[in-house]
Amino acid sequence: MSTRKKNILKVIILGDSGVGKTSLMHRYVNNKYSQQYKATIGADFLTKEVDVDDKVATMQVWDTAGQERFQSLGVAFYRGADCCVLVYDVTNTKSFENIKTWRDEFLVHANVSSPETFPFVILGNKIDCEENKKVVNTKSAQELAQSLGNVPLFFTSAKDAINVDNAFEEIARNALQQNQNDADAFEDDFNDAINIQLDGEPNSCSC
């Protein structure tokens, strides 16, 4: 497990429905944008080879569903994450307000080793929209990022490819850092985690 983990960075994208998580992922991985993405159900998965500070790794990006109902599944996808990306839509206040909720939700379900230092990155997406549609101002976003522990904040547009690569470079760097910390400190502990797999079979028949 530890050898596997060394060169694989697991990144989770969270955020309200319709903020552009899927678009951001596709922009980063395939450098493509489409109006025709279907609503994500469960989670989508893409990978990309990254080269951060002369270290090569494979980034596995899990793009999750935004609807609240799906949060109960989180655990299946959050486990073992190296970095969590929180996305909001600059034209949607609610999605911004939910950033903190998403972060807490993640920390509860992901079972991370040290919640205080776990790397998050916040992305304010859809900055290509007209100015009058933007309802989340930059300042409050910066304040939030500050209050959550100096979380890196980027303003992006998946549609116009603004800042996406920069943001993901930062994400990769954070993930790599986290990955190494984890590997160093918790290598032995990792396998002791309680097995909460869904497909575990009970010993006896319950009927």
């Binding site: 159900i41 989670a43 109902r69 109960s72 497909d199 319950s206």
Partner: protein
């Protein structure tokens, strides 16, 4: 399979069944392998006629088929056959038989499934079949198990036998049937070798090596195929009239057909779709396979071989166009025949025979009939013809009233739900032009929002927006002329519908969506327990069916939830193109919806029909564990909300009416239950590829499986596979939770 079935009766003893499971698995795997063009080369062993133990015996079924897989050419050829089966046109009652009629091996599965079911059906079979095992008299096993089946069906007419389509209805005189069939085949082989049929040869070998399994179903397999496109396509023209005469009433009594010596042999090879060259190629191949499969049977070898040669040039003389034309004509003919069958059922002046409709619909519903048949199958439209019009009028009015109420000033808009639906609608089927029209957006928004606020226990969940579209799209076709049905995906409904008609379509889609979601409420309530349960059952199924794949997933740390969640949440709709989904729903609706619906709709108005809810029972088996009580709680949670409204609560009525007393009523699977088996069949289809992949590749592959070009035939193969798994594992799944 006898042993297998017995273990079912004995509450699925794990250790007892394990060795059989492995046999079944290997058998199924070879089927899968054949359908994915990989070649499983197995040695052609001629098993002795009588086997000393059950394991050997069951193996002989496999080895008797192995000639088909031993040569690469043959197995490719096999692909052609299997891909061309069905075409959704068969109307026989033994729907399942039909689906596998093209190959002997599949015929055996059919046989197994039938055996399983017939044994389960007969009350005393437990003791009798176990004694059979001890005695090792296999042919005796066959007769006795079937006699039970026969007894239980004896007092019914052939037209109204139980909805268990897989129980052969006309098994009146098995022994004579067996012998006449046997004799029949060889006679035909020599007479009609130019239209040589693969199936008879296979049946020979089956009958020979494993008489007790394949005999009656194999007959069904070969004869039922007379009704299908594949089989009819290569009939010579001059035989067409004769054949229609013979096969018209095949379902009712095919033993009569068997007695006729002069009946032509249909050609299943290439399903009539290959080109000229491959046609003749197939012919020679068929001879090879036949010879190899009947090597044990000396008399027929001598009669078959010399007569085949002179016929070859005959085929060569026909031009490609002629063959194509002929095929077209025959395809249309069988389609027409199928349509006529639906017409006959639907045009009944009084009460439509739903179980008949259900059986025939399993294999696909012709496009013009689909809207009505769906509404009937799902239990929206009453089977009583006299009531249909008034019923529809009332339900459509109810929908309008619901809308008026919801969109009136008195109603406080549920903003989060409205917003969620609003952002999902443009993302619904974005590749189909139909779903880009404003009319459609507004329609779907109304349907989904109304449904969501009427069902507060679950509310709107992403994925439900997908589930409404097959209904909406199908019901739109009702208003299009037949020639333009395929155009429905491109035309703006407002261009051919009045506003009132559009509301009617919406209302129908709304009520049918309600009926559909009722079955799977657990999937969408908080925590989505229904989906989690299904995913778990899927993993346990794969563990038993395909241990290699399961172990590989474990090794790669692939969790089923990572890919299967969406399969459950959207009923595999994201995995297939719309036309494939719609074809799949034909089967889903006929497989999993009982006649509850019509009794629901009729019970309001004290109709003639008594309420029946086989679904209730199947839900009960699915929920035997304590966690399973979720379903019940959901219903009760959710009922008050619906009843307080002006809407007649469908849920209440379904849960109240319960009829366990009718023993002839066979348990039908619930939607979730059957769907898991479809998912299992789907996953296993890719097993060989997946076993070569690492974590990333597996997830990426399963996120985007290569199903873009899947047509109805592929879907039919998948459903048939699912059906087999279901017949083997259905009652075991509740033990795995």
């Amino acid at each position: 399979m006898v042993l297998r079935s017995t273990t079912y009766q004995n509450e699925m003893n794990e250790t007892d069944s394990s060795k059989n499971t492995s046999f079944v698995t290997s058998l199924m795997k070879s089927w899968r392998i054949s359908s994915s063009s990989s070649i499983a080369s197995s040695s052609n062993t001629n098993e002795p006629l009588t086997n000393n133990n059950n394991n050997n015996h069951t193996k002989s079924v496999l080895s008797s088929d192995s000639p088909f897989y031993s040569s690469p050419i043959q197995s490719t050829h096999f692909d052609t056959i299997t891909n061309n089966t069905g075409s959704g046109t068969t109307t026989n009652k033994k729907g399942f038989t039909r689906k596998f009629s093209s190959s002997s091996q599949d015929g055996n599965f059919d046989a197994m499934a039938k055996q399983t079911i017939s044994i389960r059906k007969s009350t005393s079979s437990s003791s009798s079949s176990s004694s059979i095992i001890n005695n090792n008299i296999t042919s005796h096993a066959h007769t006795s198990t079937h006699s039970h089946t026969h007894n239980s069906n004896n007092n019914k007419t052939t037209n109204s036998y139980s909805p268990l389509r897989y129980v052969s209805p006309s098994m009146t005189n098995l022994e004579s049937l067996k012998s006449s069939f046997f004799r029949q085949h060889h006679t035909r082989n020599s007479h009609h070798n130019q239209y040589y049929h693969n199936t008879p040869g296979n049946n020979n070998s089956n009958n020979h090596n494993s008489f007790n399994y394949s005999n009656s179903p194999a007959i069904g397999a070969s004869y039922s195929s007379y009704n299908g496109t594949g089989s009819l396509e290569n009939f010579p023209n001059d035989n067409n009239n004769a054949s229609s005469k013979y096969f018209q009433d095949l379902d009712e009594d095919w033993s009569a057909v068997i007695d006729d010596f002069n009946m032509p042999i249909p050609v299943m090879l290439n399903g009539g779709r290959g080109d000229h060259a491959s046609n003749s190629n197939n012919n020679s191949l068929s001879r090879i396979s036949t010879n190899s499969s009947i090597t044990n049977f000396k008399p027929s070898t001598t009669s078959v071989a010399p007569l085949q040669y002179p016929q070859l040039p005959l085929i060569e003389t026909r031009s490609k166009e002629e063959i194509e034309n002929e095929r077209e004509i025959q395809k249309l003919n069988s389609l027409m025949k199928r349509i006529t069958k639906f017409d006959n059922i639907l045009n009944n002046k009084h009460i439509i025979n739903l179980s008949e409709l259900r059986q025939i619909s399993w294999n696909g519903i012709p496009k013009p009939h689909r809207p009505v048949v769906w509404k009937l199958l799902i239990g929206y439209l009453p089977a009583n013809k006299n009531r249909q019009e008034s019923f529809l009028k009332r339900k459509r009015q109810e929908y309008r009233d619901g809308l008026n109420h919801t969109f009136s000033k008195n109603h406080k808009r549920d903003i989060p739900t409205w917003h969620q639906i609003e952002i999902d609608i443009p993302r619904t089927n974005p590749h189909i032009p139909l779903y880009q029209f404003k009319t459609v957006h507004e329609s779907l928004q109304r349907i989904l929002y109304l449904w969501a606020i009427r069902h507060p226990a679950s509310g709107y969940v992403q994925g439900i927006n997908d589930l409404v579209t097959p209904f909406y799209q199908t019901f739109l076709t009702e208003y299009l002329p037949q020639s333009q049905i395929d155009d429905v995906e491109n035309r703006d409904p407002s261009s051919y519908l009045s506003e009132e008609q559009l509301k009617d379509v919406e209302a129908d889609a709304f009520w049918c969506l309600t009926r559909l979601l009722e079955q799977i409420t657990d999937n969408y309530i908080h925590g989505q327990p229904g989906i989690l349960k299904q995913v778990k059952i899927l993993s346990q199924l794969i563990k038993r069916i395909d241990t290699d794949l399961y172990n590989h997933f474990q090794k790669e740390h692939v969790e089923f939830i990572q890919f299967a969640f969406r399969w459950m949440n959207c009923l595999l709709m994201r995995e297939f193109q719309m036309n494939a989904v719609i074809r799949m729903w034909d089967t889903y609706l006929s497989e999993t919806f009982s006649d509850t619906g019509s009794s629901m709709s009729t019970s309001f108005n004290s109709d003639l029909m008594s309420p029946q809810t086989p679904t209730q029972r199947s839900t009960a088996t699915f929920h035997t564990t304590p966690q399973g009580s979720n379903h019940v709680t959901t219903l009760s949670l959710h009922t008050p909300a619906t009843t307080t409204t002006r809407f007649n609560s469908v849920t209440t009525l379904t849960s109240v009416s319960k009829d366990e007393s009718d023993p002839t009523k066979v348990k039908q699977s619930s939607l979730n239950e059957f769907h898991v088996f479809v998912c299992a069949a789907f996953l296993i289809k890719w097993s060989d590829q997946l076993c070569e992949m690492d974590f990333q590749e597996i997830i990426t592959f399963l996120q985007n499986p290569p199903t873009k070009n899947w047509d109805e035939n592929d879907i039919e193969m998948l459903l048939s596979g699912a059906y087999i798994w279901q017949s083997l594992y259905k009652d075991a799944t509740s033990h795995w939770l």
